[in-house]
C-alpha cells in the first residue's frame, strides 16, 4: 500500500498522460461498416467546420476592438474547439484506423478538410467576423437542435452539449448584428458590406449530397435543406431589426468545402495551425 509520500513527480506526469476515457454509450452506428465512409465524412464536416471557425475566431485574441469583445471571441473559439474534439474524436473512433482528433486536425492536408467555405474566409474586420458568426450560429443552433434527436446516441449527446453553448453564441451575435447594423453610418455600411460579401457562401449550408442522404437515411441527421426555412426566418427577422437589406437571392452560391474543394484561404489557416506538429511531430507541452 502506497503512502502519500510515494506520490512523486513521476506519478504526476504519468497521471497527466492518462486522459479521461470516453464512456461507452452503446451506438450501433459507430461500428456499422457499410455506413462508415459516409459517417466518417459527415463527422469531419461537423468537426472541421467548428475547427476552422474556432481558429478564425481565435485570431482576434489580443486584437479585439475592446477588451470584452476580445474575451468573448476567445471564449467562443474555446467552445468551438471543444466541439471539434468531440466531433473529430468520434470520427476517429468510427474510422478505427488509429487516428485521433489531434492527428485529424493537425496532419491532414487541405483537400481532406470538409468544412464549409463560409468559415475559412479571412476574419476581415469586426463586421465580417460578427456577420459570419451570426449567419453560421443561426444555422448551427437549428442543426444542433435537430441532432439532439439523432438515431445515434453519440451524435445526440454531443449535440445536446454543444447546443447549450451555441445558444449563447447566437444570442451574442444576433445582438451585435442589431447594434452594429442599426448603429452609426459607418457601422451600418460595414455590416451591409459584410453581408453582401458573405451571402454567396451561405447557400452551401443547405445543399445535401450523397453523404448527407446516407446519414439522413440512417436517421442520424436531417437533410440540411430542411433547415432553410427556419434559418431564413431568423435571419430575415434579425436583419430587419438591424435595418440591413437582405441581398437578392440571385448571387451564385459558392460551394465545395464539404467535398474538399476549398478557397485559397484554407491553406494559409492550415500552415499556421499545423506548423508545429508538422515540424516537431508529437510535440507537447
Amino acid at each position: 500500500m502506497s503512502s502519500p509520500s510515494d506520490m512523486n513527480t513521476g506519478d504526476v506526469v504519468e497521471l497527466a498522460a492518462k486522459e479521461a476515457a470516453q464512456q461507452d454509450v452503446p451506438d450501433h452506428h459507430v461500428t456499422d461498416v457499410a455506413l462508415k465512409p459516409a459517417f466518417f465524412d459527415w463527422l469531419c464536416r461537423m468537426g472541421d467546420t467548428t475547427l476552422i471557425l474556432g481558429h478564425r475566431t481565435s485570431e482576434w485574441c489580443g486584437h479585439g476592438p475592446a477588451l470584452e469583445e476580445d474575451i468573448a471571441q476567445a471564449n467562443i473559439a474555446l467552445d468551438l474547439i471543444g466541439h471539434t474534439q468531440m466531433w473529430l474524436g468520434l470520427a476517429a473512433e468510427v474510422e478505427d484506423e488509429g487516428r485521433t482528433a489531434d492527428t485529424l486536425a493537425y496532419l491532414r492536408d487541405a483537400m481532406k478538410f470538409r468544412n464549409l467555405l463560409l468559415v475559412e474566409l479571412p476574419k476581415g474586420d469586426m463586421a465580417v467576423t460578427i456577420m459570419r458568426q451570426f449567419l453560421f450560429d443561426a444555422w448551427h443552433h437549428d442543426y444542433l437542435g435537430k441532432l439532439t434527436g439523432s438515431s445515434s446516441p453519440r451524435v445526440a449527446e454531443i449535440a445536446a452539449k454543444a447546443l447549450k453553448e451555441v445558444t449563447y453564441h447566437l444570442e451574442r451575435s444576433s445582438d451585435l448584428v442589431v447594434r452594429l447594423g442599426d448603429g452609426t453610418d459607418a457601422s451600418r455600411r460595414r455590416m451591409q458590406d459584410a453581408l453582401e460579401l458573405l451571402w454567396p457562401y451561405t447557400g452551401e449550408m443547405f445543399v445535401s449530397d450523397e453523404v448527407d442522404r446516407a446519414i439522413a437515411e440512417a436517421g442520424i441527421a436531417p437533410l440540411v435543406e430542411d433547415l432553410h426555412a427556419d434559418w431564413t426566418e431568423t435571419v430575415t427577422e434579425i436583419l430587419k431589426e438591424a435595418t440591413l437589406e437582405l441581398p437578392s437571392g440571385t448571387a451564385y452560391a459558392q460551394k465545395g468545402g464539404r467535398t474538399g474543394r476549398h478557397t485559397e484561404h484554407l491553406g494559409f489557416v492550415l500552415a499556421e495551425m499545423q506548423f508545429l506538429q508538422r515540424a516537431y511531430p508529437g510535440a507537447s507541452w
Binding site: 471564449n75 467562443i76 468531440m86 445536446a160 447549450k164 444570442e171
Partner: protein, 173 residues
C-alpha cells in the same frame, strides 16, 4: 493478496475535498460535475462531466482528482468522460451558491437553466433574457450586463450601478 477497498461514500467525501482549479472556494462535487463513483473490481471509476466542452480546466481537474485519491492510497483509478446528460448549473449545490456569492461571483439564477428562458432567439424577441442578477457585494438589483462572456466561458461580465463594482456572473447553462 487482499486489500480493503474504501466505501463509495468515503470516496465521495474525498472528492468533496478537491477544489475547482479556477474557483477554489468550491469543490468538484459542489459543482455537480462528478456524476458517478463505483468500483470495477479493484479499479475505482469516477465519471466526470465537463462544464463547457472546451473548458481548459477539465484536464487539470482530472489530474487533481487522480492526485488527491492517490494520497488516500487509491492508485487504480479510471476517469470516464460522461457527456450525457449535459452538465447544467442547476446541479450546483445550495451551499456552493453561497460560497460563490461570498467569493464575489453572482451564482446562477436557480432553476432557469432547464427552462426555455435561455432559448436565445425567443428570449431576445420577448426581452426575457434580462434576468435580475444581484450584485454579490452590496446585494443591489441595479446591475447591468457588460458582456455575455467574462473571464472564463462559464461567466458573464456584469457591473453594479449602485456600488459601481464590476463582477462575474456564473451564467445559467
Amino acid at each position: 493478496m487482499t486489500t480493503t477497498l474504501p466505501s463509495v461514500d468515503q470516496v465521495w467525501g474525498w472528492l468533496a475535498e478537491v477544489p475547482d482549479p479556477e474557483i477554489p472556494v468550491i469543490s468538484v462535487t459542489d459543482l455537480g460535475i462528478v456524476r458517478e463513483v463505483f468500483f470495477e473490481g479493484d479499479t475505482l471509476v469516477v465519471a466526470v462531466t465537463p462544464t463547457y466542452s472546451g473548458c481548459p480546466a477539465m484536464a487539470v481537474i482530472d489530474i487533481d482528482i487522480q492526485s488527491h485519491l492517490a494520497t488516500k492510497g487509491l492508485h487504480s483509478v479510471r476517469l470516464d468522460r460522461r457527456l450525457s446528460p449535459p452538465w447544467t448549473t442547476d446541479w450546483i449545490t445550495e451551499e456552493a451558491r453561497e460560497k460563490l456569492r461570498d467569493y464575489g461571483i453572482a451564482p446562477p439564477i436557480d432553476g432557469t437553466a432547464g427552462t426555455d428562458v435561455m432559448a436565445a432567439r425567443a428570449a431576445r424577441m420577448s426581452g426575457t433574457s434580462n434576468l435580475v442578477v444581484s450584485c454579490p457585494r452590496c446585494g443591489s438589483a441595479a446591475t447591468e450586463k457588460v458582456s455575455q462572456f467574462g473571464s472564463t466561458p462559464c461567466k458573464a461580465a456584469y457591473r453594479c450601478t449602485d456600488c459601481l463594482e464590476p463582477f462575474d456572473y456564473f451564467k445559467c447553462i
